[in-house]
Symmetry: C2
Subunit: 188 residues, 2 copies
DNA sequence: TACTTTGTACAGTTTTTACTGTACGTTCTT
DNA sequence: AAGAACGTACAGTAAAAACTGTACAAAGTA
């Protein structure tokens, strides 16, 4: 893990601690839709004391470089890791985004926002169609009733997605920290 | 979908609209860690005008009852659907939780909160261990430096998880709606 | 009590996802 | 310009997840 090789043995306890935290982090990564091993990769990078190359990751994870490449890309897409430039090195270097609040925000901005937007589009379109059908079947009370029920559902869904959109806004613009401030950690 | 069978043809446009919305809902369900077909099942239940049985779901989804059973269970675990009691029927009936704000909150309470709690536990444990190691290796400056760096990382992580915990609190106790109020939907 | 009906456990199958090794285009070095 | 090092596309393989059908336990019915 980038440690002075001569100290490996001495650091057994430290390594064990790190490993446990890395696995815990990795295991929880499924919340972000990330596979276990990519989660582990993230944990590894989290504790690396310097940016790592694909080869280094591969040898630490005992996995192929190809897998590291795809794993890193997944993490890059979610902005959980950043590409780092270092003069002199031809290899690409990566390090985690250590600001987890930012990572949280990015996740919602990237994944949830996209979802919200497409859903809102579909709902608009569907609502238009219902309005059209309402005129078409105006003399069919049963059909009108059905249409009204669906309309109410779509309206509720639409309101919810707009709320979600505004919630994500507060993550992005930082208003959320007015309601839930970042605090100094309790003594642990 | 519970419609008068005699009206099937007439309702083709309505069915098409529903199907599109159902698929959109279903597709976005991966945000909740739910498979596509379970997402579709959810969408189906969303538009059902009454609670459905496993058999009804199976025939609508053209899938086995076993799959419906496991799918419903997944949704029940996330409190996305509720079991409904109806006198006279021996079959179990299910309907979606129509309050999506509640569903959103439940999701974080069930999935994220659990994650936060185990992480906090592991971090505490690891921090203790680091403190022990610090005493043990007090005369090894290099090791002390390493330990300090890890300690800082753990502390940051801890602070973040506490923040997340408080954020989820605001979902649960409704304070979030002070910052991001539920609003009447725009005209759509 | 014997007979149905209902939901799910479980084993087997299919489908999807994760992972590997090779090959190749690109970029840097000399 | 030739050669070396790097990252990734791609095809093939291994592992995991989703799905099905059967079998059975639990609970209702006659």
């Amino acid at each position: 893990m980038g440690l002075d090789p001569g100290k490996e043995e001495q650091n057994a306890a430290l390594q064990k601690m790190r490993k446990r935290v890395i696995e815990t982090i990795g295991r929880n990564m499924d919340l972000y839709g990330i596979s276990l091993s990519t989660g582990h990769l993230y944990g590894l990078l989290y504790f690396a004391d310097k940016p790592m190359t694909l080869d280094e990751m591969g040898s630490e994870m005992k996995m192929s470089k190809t897998s590291m490449s795809t794993g890193v890309r997944t993490l890059l897409d979610l902005k959980m890791v950043n590409k780092v430039w270092e003069k002199g090195s031809r290899k690409d270097l990566y390090e985690v985004e250590y600001d987890w609040y930012q990572t949280f925000t990015d996740f919602f901005d990237i994944k949830w926002r996209k979802s919200v937007e497409t859903n809102i589009l579909i709902l608009r379109k569907s609502m238009e169609e219902i309005n059209k059908l309402e005129k078409e079947y105006a003399e069919d009370p049963e059909m009108v009733d059905l249409l009204h029920k669906d309309k109410a559902k779509l309206r509720d869904a639409y309101a919810y997605y707009q709320w979600l959109d505004r919630l994500i806004d507060t993550f992005e613009n930082g208003d959320i920290y007015k309601l839930v401030p970042k605090e100094l950690p309790d003594e642990i």
